[in-house]
């Protein structure tokens, strides 16, 4: 597969590669013999509420017969004919260990409703329809969803479960300088963690914005640093620390619009100089200390109340 195509693989496609035909197939296969009449076949369809079956002779797969074949037989007044005459012989099959994506491809290519599934000894072990594939993929998606729910459930009880006079959880993230491909990952990871902890969404939004701006500043202007978030029941304390170059004039840097960003950084939509002002508007308390040649340390405190509104002042 082409590298760029491969990059665009979605979750759904990923699942069709991960899951095998055996995960989707129905194991109890209803079959008919070639000697059965179409009238008998009709009864089988009616009893089992299915729309087609493989045809087996002495345990060997010899064809497949569907409701379409039945309709044709009815139209021609050949309801008494043997299944062996009306079936589609020389059936295409799928192997149990083939990825579902092969099945999807074959359904698209041959336009049939079902494929018998055989093991590597060519023994019929199941049958798969397009509906079966959809169900298998949805089931798997649901499992992923539940896992996230379980993470969330476990994590959101941590403050109640821990016995201590004071509890603080500390999360640290390293930020690479000048590396745009990973820029935003620290804030994104912190956001996921906070939502698992059950923190109110408006609080998470403020933390995410402040952290992202701090993270981008580290990426744009320094050789790297770290972001540390200390989460307590009543407040979140974020520290963004880097190893230089430092800000010569903090008061000037805080002015909306002030920027030292180079042209290419501005072209990317960064460095409009509102970043520190943006952080400030999200913070209940903010402290910025910097020494040229040493580094910058930014501290932000965001209080957690039920509504996630600012405790200190209006935004």
């Amino acid at each position: 597969m082409d590298k760029d195509v491969k990059k665009e693989v979605t979750k759904l496609q990923e699942l069709t590669y991960e899951l095998k035909v055996e995960h989707a197939m129905t194991r109890e296969v209803i079959t008919v013999t070639p000697q059965a009449t179409m009238a008998e076949f009709r009864e089988i369809l009616r009893t089992h509420r299915i729309s087609g079956t493989p045809v087996l002779e002495d345990g060997q797969l010899v064809g497949i017969v569907s409701i379409e074949d039945l309709i044709k037989a009815l139209a021609n007044g050949e309801i008494g004919a043997a299944v062996g005459e009306k079936m589609t012989p020389g059936v295409k099959t799928l192997y149990t260990d083939e990825p579902l994506v092969h099945a999807v491809g074959k359904f698209a290519r041959f336009g049939c409703g079902r494929f018998p599934v055989v093991n590597r000894h060519k023994e019929l072990v199941g049958i798969v329809t397009q509906g079966d594939i959809m169900r298998a993929v949805l089931r798997e998606l649901e499992i992923d969803y539940h896992e996230e729910e379980i993470h969330r459930y476990r994590a959101s009880h941590i403050f109640e479960d821990i016995v201590a006079d004071e509890t603080a959880l500390v999360f640290g993230y390293r930020v690479m300088g000048k590396d745009f491909s990973t820029a935003g990952e620290a804030s994104s990871s912190l956001k996921t963690t906070l939502s698992r902890l059950g923190i109110a969404p408006p609080v998470i939004r403020r933390v995410a914005i402040a952290t992202y701006e701090a993270e981008i500043n580290i990426v744009l202007y320094t050789d790297g640093g770290e972001i540390v978030a200390e989460v307590r029941l009543e407040r979140i304390h974020i520290e963004a620390i880097d190893g230089g170059p430092g800000i010569p004039d903090i008061e000037q840097a805080m002015q909306p619009g002030f920027s030292t960003a180079s042209e290419w950084v501005r072209e990317m939509g960064f460095g409009a100089g509102m970043d520190l002002a943006n952080i400030k508007s999200c913070a209940d308390q903010m402290k910025l200390e910097s020494a040229v040649g040493v580094g910058t340390q930014l501290e932000v405190i965001i209080y957690v109340d039920e509504k996630g509104e600012h405790m200190g002042r209006e935004r």
């Binding site: 665009e8 935003g184 990952e185 804030s187 956001k191 969404p201 995410a208 990317m268 939509g269 970043d275």
Partner: protein, 114 residues
């Protein structure tokens, strides 16, 4: 209004996996400055921008935006689509200019955020 209705009505091209198309769009915001989008755009908004690099995905994901529309015929950078699929962010493109897109969305009843 749902995202997929907007995609159809404004003739947008979905460039990512068709994810989150049933999301309810709560409003729109247009800017090419990430900081402005970060400060102003609200959860469920559609963001119209000329930026195409992967960091727009980080912004959309942090804010839980309904999606990003890249205007004026610009395509997303190769890494952008990959990252967007990973984070479940829907990216759309259009050949029209930002103003035209915004006017169309406003005509469809998508409110601005102020």
């Amino acid at each position: 209004m749902k995202l997929e209705e907007i995609v159809a009505a404004a003739a947008l091209t979905v460039r990512t996996a068709p994810q989150g198309l049933d999301a309810e769009v709560t409003g729109g915001y247009a800017s090419d400055l990430l900081s402005c989008a970060l400060a102003k755009a609200q959860k469920g908004n559609l963001w119209i921008t000329l930026q195409a690099h992967p960091n727009i995905v980080a912004v959309a994901s942090l804010l839980d935006l309904a999606g990003i529309v890249i205007a004026e015929g610009r395509g997303p950078d190769p890494g952008t689509v990959e990252k967007a699929n990973e984070h479940g962010v829907c990216i759309m493109t259009t050949g029209r200019a930002t103003f035209t897109v915004v006017a169309r969305l406003a005509g469809l009843g998508v409110p601005g955020v102020d």
